[in-house]
């Protein structure tokens, strides 16, 4: 009887006995993510489930990520199959207004400049000795686009899914902190106070509806390996612009996006198990992710300066910083920075154009990258 009682008691303390120091570290990191999401309002929809997933997966012997574990079932069903990021993209498409970029199609180019960080970081990752597919996955953090990062990582570097996802979402939420100093360093006072003319609404409904269809066909033909990413975001946008399927649009914007965000967040958190996550490589990946997003901003602002000089001072170079995919946060940062230097300056609509261009640019950069990899026989 004594042995039976001791056996029973050992079952109650086994969790503590098997607790590894790396589990404790990860629980603390989960707590930090919860703090950032709840208290600081940094991407709470994602950081809260990721943080909580991170805490529970580090409780020993619960077997949440073992076969039949509930987190493993969610992870296998939605992340490994790439279904979650694609469903989120339908919602993003339904929520994104591409009219600002259609009003000023040149802002597509700012969206292209904002993707330089992806490819420069890929080079850095290769220089640090990462294998090809891992380097591509790390570089894609520069897309500043969580679903794109998860899509690429789940296909080509599943072991990096946790670090790259955390890096992508954390740095996206830190855009208001990261971008302003770079914008200030790279621009002069004269450039920052540049007032940009506001345009009348000039996009017809037909153009707005044809946009997602044509972009999908042309983009798909150029980069077929990235078509799932492009097609889902454009499907969402077509539903929104057509106005014919408002029930589906609302479901994509709300119910589908909310449910998938919850499941995706907790699945990503579940990849952050201490013994797997706490290693020097993770720190290097987090640093490279930071470099990628800073390089995106640098290249975007520098291209904005080129436009400033080419147009004879009609384009405020600050809007170049919005050529990334953090939509619409980056555009708001540009508006705020612009008004710091000239209270009468309203850069928001122009920055929204660059930001929408960045959204398309990041998806196209990932799509092109995958197709180039396929062409080179790497995948």
């Amino acid at each position: 009887m004594f042995d039976a009682m001791m056996g029973g008691i050992s079952g109650l303390v086994a969790g503590f006995v098997h607790l590894h120091w790396s589990n404790v570290v990860m629980m603390c990191i989960g707590g930090v993510l919860l703090y950032l999401g709840i208290k600081k309002d940094f991407e709470p929809l994602l950081l809260v489930p990721i943080g909580f997933g991170c805490i529970i997966v580090n409780i020993p012997l619960a077997d949440l990520m073992e076969k039949e574990g509930f987190l493993r079932i969610i992870y296998d069903a939605g992340v490994i199959t790439e279904l979650f990021p694609l469903l989120i993209f339908v919602g993003i498409g339904a929520m994104t207004d591409f009219r600002p970029v259609l009003e000023n199609p040149y802002t597509f180019l700012l969206g292209a400049a904002g993707q330089f960080g992806i490819f420069l970081t890929l080079l850095l990752a290769l220089a640090l000795g990462f294998p090809y597919k891992d380097a591509v996955t790390i570089g894609i953090i520069g897309a500043c686009d969580g679903p794109t990062v998860i899509y690429v990582a789940s296909q080509y570097a599943q072991h990096l899914l946790g670090p790259v996802s955390v890096a992508a979402y954390s740095y996206m939420s830190l855009v208001p902190v990261l971008q302003p100093p770079i914008m200030r360093v790279l621009t002069t006072q004269k450039e920052r106070v540049t007032v940009m003319k506001t345009h009348q609404k000039t996009v017809s409904k037909t153009t707005a509806m044809l946009f997602p269809i044509i972009i999908t066909i042309i983009g798909g033909l150029i980069a077929p390996k990235g078509l799932p990413l492009l097609a889902t975001i454009m499907l969402g946008n077509l539903m929104k612009e057509s106005g014919a399927v408002s029930r589906l649009t609302k479901a994509s914007e709300n119910e589908i996006s909310n449910i998938v965000t919850l499941l995706l967040g907790i699945s990503i958190g579940a990849t952050m198990s201490g013994p797997v996550f706490v290693k020097p490589t993770t720190i290097v990946i987090l640093c490279l992710g930071l470099v990628a997003i800073c390089l995106d901003t640098v290249c975007g602002v520098l291209f904005g300066k080129v436009l400033y000089y080419v147009t004879g001072g009609k384009v405020n170079p600050l809007i170049g910083a919005a050529g990334i995919s953090a939509f619409p946060m980056s555009a708001r940062v540009v508006q705020k920075e612009g008004q710091k230097y000239n209270k009468k300056n309203y850069l928001l609509m122009h920055a929204m154009g660059a930001n929408a261009g960045g959204q398309v640019g990041s998806v196209m950069a990932a799509a092109v990258m995958l197709s180039v990899l396929k062409g080179m026989g790497i995948i």
């Binding site: 970029v101 259609l102 199609p105 040149y106 597509f108 180019l109 969206g111 292209a112 993707q115 330089f116 992806i118 490819f119 420069l120 890929l122 080079l123 290769l126 220089a127 090809y132 380097a135 591509v136 609404k201 000039t202 996009v203 017809s204 409904k205 037909t206 153009t207 044809l210 946009f211 044509i214 972009i215 042309i218 983009g219 150029i222 980069a223 261009g357 398309v360 640019g361 196209m364 950069a365 092109v368 990258m369 197709s371 180039v372 990899l373 080179m376 790497i378």
Partner: protein, 44 residues
Amino acid sequence: MMDKWTFGITMLVVGMGGTICTLIIFSLIMSALKKIFPYKKEEE
């Protein structure tokens, strides 16, 4: 198997070049569409 620098530079040149060219094409198509289907006030 190519060396890592050949791979990296190819990705930078073809990947970034491909992205820029694609977005330039998108930009031109959208400019053309705006001309073909101009905005009319009645649409409001």
